[in-house]
Symmetry: C2
Subunit: 269 residues, 2 copies
């Protein structure tokens, strides 16, 4: 099936999913939307994030995608059920794939989760994990300072290193054998996070796991791309595209074209 | 949903899937059928394996399972399309989950596959891998002597060590960064296989990956078990149950009850 997979996020975080889809499903065409004008979503009320998500999905409908991927944990936590109920195409979020991968990986049944305030407050990971495996012990922490650093492209700065170290200083004392990066921005910081948490803690990237599940779902629905030609991906962002483009090209390791989208409704923010 | 997941195999191999389902989906009830009277399936003609698989599925229907798992690579390779077309419940095989996990894991795009003669001859893994990622290089080898050793419970004997070493002596010279254990019996030998292949080769267990995908599919279909009580699993085998029970109890690390099933049709073998 030659239609695109539409992937959306509050900003550059969903590019971690894009990179994995490009690697694990090289024949699939991707249309990406980063809502950089309104990032971060983490501190916003659930109703607002839900409204923004609906708006982006409405924008993406013009491309008739075969699947919508909500590549933002905050938006998945609060909006996926509504979006799923509204559409006939498959809608994939980033929370359950990470939860399932953590259950597969953990041998001690003690799992850590880090995410935005919105995601952690929603307790979406605890619910997803305990729905499957009621005895799992979950310790979670919001890391509100991580997303703004990533959106500024500061993946390895001294400030970022210090912030990651301070933010995780308490969490690292809890026994766990895996830590879910419950925000698609966090794989940009995975080296730093891993060095703070130590080698005994396996990081679970919801990005990598979501790409794997996209592959599973497309296969089971008979919707895998069949073309052998290399797809041309399209990128949209709602804010100033310069920084978005710089981060995307460096992360994806290829040249891309970014189309800026201006939200037309004046009171939309 | 409180109905069971039905899992079938030519013998004890599918117990590697059972163990992972018990670990990753502890609330799910399992009904297992091992066709130990007619193991191994690997050297048999495709038509025969297809007929046997139909017969087991027909037997399992009496339990009204919510899902059928063909936990045998040989049977998946030759019979899954027919079984899937015949049933309205989801039918999960063990080949595609392993293929997707290998694509996720491999960084060099060079993947090895070992399996029974039937599986390797079918080229099912090459087809599954290349459908998703056409540039992947696959090297595969049949290991016909492995299944009989596992069915005899000889996981660590000197004979088994020598057989594994000799069988893989050529394959280990090929460059690859992961090796798919394309037979559900092989995780019983994973320590030996890993020591022969070396630490640079990640073993992909189709058993572990299939359990993960069972979890994905049950979630997306709203079919996860909701009970908090521990399920009681049921085990059936077509041959003499003593060895089956000994292997199952040791592998699953718990006491089980095995019900022998005698195929009623005299000419069925």
């Amino acid at each position: 099936m030659q239609q695109a997979i539409a992937i959306l996020d509050s900003g550059v975080g969903g590019l971690t999913v894009v990179k994995e889809v490009m690697r694990q499903l090289p024949q699939e065409k991707i249309i990406y939307f980063g809502d950089t004008a309104r990032t971060p979503y983490g501190p916003r009320p659930a109703e607002e994030v839900t409204r923004f998500t609906h708006q982006i999905v409405d924008y993406l409908k013009q491309f008739q995608p075969k699947m919508i991927v909500i590549a933002c944990n905050t938006a998945t936590a609060v909006a996926i059920d509504e979006i799923r109920a509204e559409l006939t195409i498959p809608v994939v979020g980033v929370i359950h794939p990470g939860a399932r991968a953590a259950i597969k990986t953990s041998r001690t049944q003690r799992i850590g989760v880090i995410g935005t305030e919105g995601t952690i407050k929603s307790r979406a990971y605890e619910v997803a994990l305990r729905q499957i495996s009621p005895n799992i012990q979950v310790v979670s922490q919001a890391c509100p300072s991580f997303v703004p650093l990533v959106e500024k492209g500061l993946f390895r700065s001294e400030e970022t290193r210090r912030t990651v170290e301070e933010t995780l200083s308490e969490l690292r004392r809890y026994p766990m054998d895996c830590l879910i990066l419950g925000c698609t921005h966090y794989p940009f910081l995975s080296e730093l996070i891993s060095s703070v948490m130590g080698p005994q803690v396996t990081l679970i990237s919801s990005a990598e796991e979501t790409a794997r599940e996209i592959s599973t779902i497309l296969y089971h629905k008979g919707m895998l791309a069949t073309s052998n030609s290399m797809p041309v991906h399209q990128f949209f962002c709602s804010g100033e595209p310069r920084m978005f483009k710089a981060i995307a090209q460096s992360w994806l390791n290829e040249q891309i074209k970014v189309t800026p989208v201006v939200w037309q409704v004046p009171n939309i923010i």
